[in-house]
């Protein structure tokens, strides 16, 4: 077994892999970016006609982050079966959003962003609250992915933290900048296949060397709590995971932009299939954590359980597989974050707020500048190395879970009130953050969503609105 302080992969091999995949992503991104009409809709939403295969793959690839491949095995190692189940339940966010996605496509055939919906449905004050929540979440998400890139590439291959971060962020920025949403969705398709195939190879080879009944026997003897289906902490984490993921998906423009980019006939199916496909990833990577536990593998850093196991079982080849999976996971999430957040800023702030008279070309240029600006801001914020990334993510869970009910009610319920929506988001966030501090980080989303639901329902029942859904059909 390699020393966990030393890199798993020789830097020369790691650089060769980085160059190969960087050239591939950038070349494909630029080539796909040249398709279509070349207008703002094409750049921001890939022409609004994406089929089922690309739509499903882009949802799945964007949802597989560096955390999915490294934190899920840690969950499996520390919490056992419930750790895997609870991480996998984050796929419910995509599945439960499926009917809402179809409703959005019906109500807003010309829509571009989640901000468009909040502004048209609840007005500008609610839009301001929503934009603050989405800005905090998105910046936190971008930072965790950029920092994760630096930390992971350092641990896997000995890259300097800053070099790893610049390489991953630079590659994702380049092809997103030149190819827009077409580049993001096209590369996501290949990245999702790469991630799933390589993970399946690692898992099958791991269990061939250490069969499942042997893993079960070892765990039953030494760690029976990891096989307990009634683990209280596991049940609570599972609830939080499901609600957190709903908050992330329901509010964030990554997922709304996929709704607007996909064909109407495939939009609902793609969210269901994407969620189901995604759920198998943390289950498989989590099971690798169980094998490590059964083998009593020595770990200096528990979040490195997956690369340690892969290198231990499969040697340098295993380390190379993990490196490619992590590289693909990080770039596929970063490109989606950069593209969809740039769209949100260009459409909602530049076009709808600052320059409503802007031409189509100016809007497209604004979206490009936003991609570049976001990459620079992310790099600057992530430059100082922070070690606790999970706490940043749980912190944002309190904020995003408060948007679940205002979004869902606003799409289906004519009576949903705009003041109730504002108070629901504010009070849900406040209570969620209080629970984060006073009880435990993994309670934040549960409390936030519960309070937000209560305020939204009571407020709308007491002061009902008569909203005309036709108002959402604003021309792009």
């Amino acid at each position: 077994m390699p020393d966990s302080a030393a890199p798993f992969l020789q830097p020369g091999v790691a650089w060769a892999l980085v160059v190969v995949f960087a050239v591939l992503w950038i070349a494909l991104g630029i080539a796909w970016g040249r398709r279509g009409k070349g207008d703002a809709d094409d750049y921001m939403l890939a022409g609004r006609n994406i089929g089922l295969a690309l739509s499903t793959a882009t949802l799945m690839a964007s949802w597989v982050t560096g955390n999915t491949t490294l934190l899920a095995p840690e969950f499996g190692y520390k919490t056992g079966l419930w750790g895997m189940f609870s991480y996998a339940l984050a796929g419910l966010g995509l599945i439960l959003f499926a009917p809402l996605a179809l409703r959005i496509k019906q109500l807003m055939p010309f829509g571009r962003t989640s901000g468009d919906f909040i502004r048209l449905r609840y007005g500008r004050p609610a839009w301001c609250v929503f934009m603050v929540i989405t800005a905090v979440y998105t910046l936190g998400f971008l930072m965790t992915q950029a920092m994760g890139a630096g930390l992971l590439l350092q641990a896997l291959s000995g890259f300097d933290y800053h070099v790893g971060m610049v390489v991953v962020l630079g590659v994702a920025t380049l092809y997103t900048l030149f190819g827009g949403m077409r580049a993001v969705i096209g590369t996501d398709f290949i990245q999702s296949l790469l991630i799933m195939v390589l993970l399946a190879v690692v898992a099958v080879l791991a269990f061939r060397q250490f069969p499942m009944p042997e893993v079960h026997a070892a765990l039953s003897l030494e760690h029976p709590d990891r096989l307990d289906l009634l683990l209280p902490a596991g049940l609570l984490i599972a609830w939080n995971s499901a609600l957190f993921s709903m908050g992330e998906v329901f509010h964030n423009n990554i997922w709304w932009s996929r709704v607007f980019a996909s064909r109407r006939s495939v939009v609902m199916t793609s969210f269901v299939l994407g969620g189901l496909a995604w759920m198998s990833v943390p289950m498989v990577t989590g099971s690798i954590g169980l094998v490590a536990l059964a083998r009593n593998l020595e770990l200096d850093q528990i979040n490195m359980v997956f690369p340690v196991m892969a290198a231990d079982l499969l040697g340098a080849g295993g380390a190379a597989l993990v490196f490619v999976v992590v590289f693909a996971s990080l770039t596929s999430t970063l490109d989606s974050l950069l593209a969809s957040t740039a769209d949100l800023l260009a459409e909602d702030v530049y076009f709808k707020l600052l320059r409503p008279q802007a031409t189509d070309l100016q809007l497209k240029q604004a979206a490009r500048l936003m991609v570049l600006g976001l990459a620079v801001v992310t790099l600057a914020l992530s430059w100082p190395r922070l070690d606790s990334l999970a706490s940043v993510l749980f912190f944002t869970g309190a904020l995003v879970a408060s948007t679940v009910w205002p979004v869902a009610c606003g799409l289906y319920w004519r009576m949903a009130n705009r003041r109730a929506a504002i108070i629901a988001m504010l009070s849900g966030s406040a209570v969620g953050l209080t629970a984060y501090g006073l009880i435990a980080p993994y309670c934040a989303a549960v409390f936030s969503a519960a309070v937000s639901a209560l305020v939204m329902v009571v407020g709308s029942q007491c002061w009902p609105e008569r909203f005309d859904f036709a108002l959402l059909k604003e021309e792009a």
């Binding site: 499942m212 289906l229 169980l290």
Partner: protein, 49 residues
């Protein structure tokens, strides 16, 4: 080392443990197959983009 199990606990048995783990691996492989099959059909009909 033997670890104490809580009073209220339901431990998964070896058969179900294998079903869960093998099932998730099968689901992962099937996801790849289904995704490629959908892409193939859409590509043949010019409906990918």
């Amino acid at each position: 080392m033997n670890v104490a199990v809580p009073m209220v606990a339901t431990l998964i048995d070896s058969t179900w443990f294998t079903i869960v783990l093998a099932g998730s691996q099968l689901a992962l492989v099937m996801s790849v197959v289904v995704l490629l099959a959908i892409w193939w059909v859409e590509w043949r009909h010019g409906r990918v983009w």
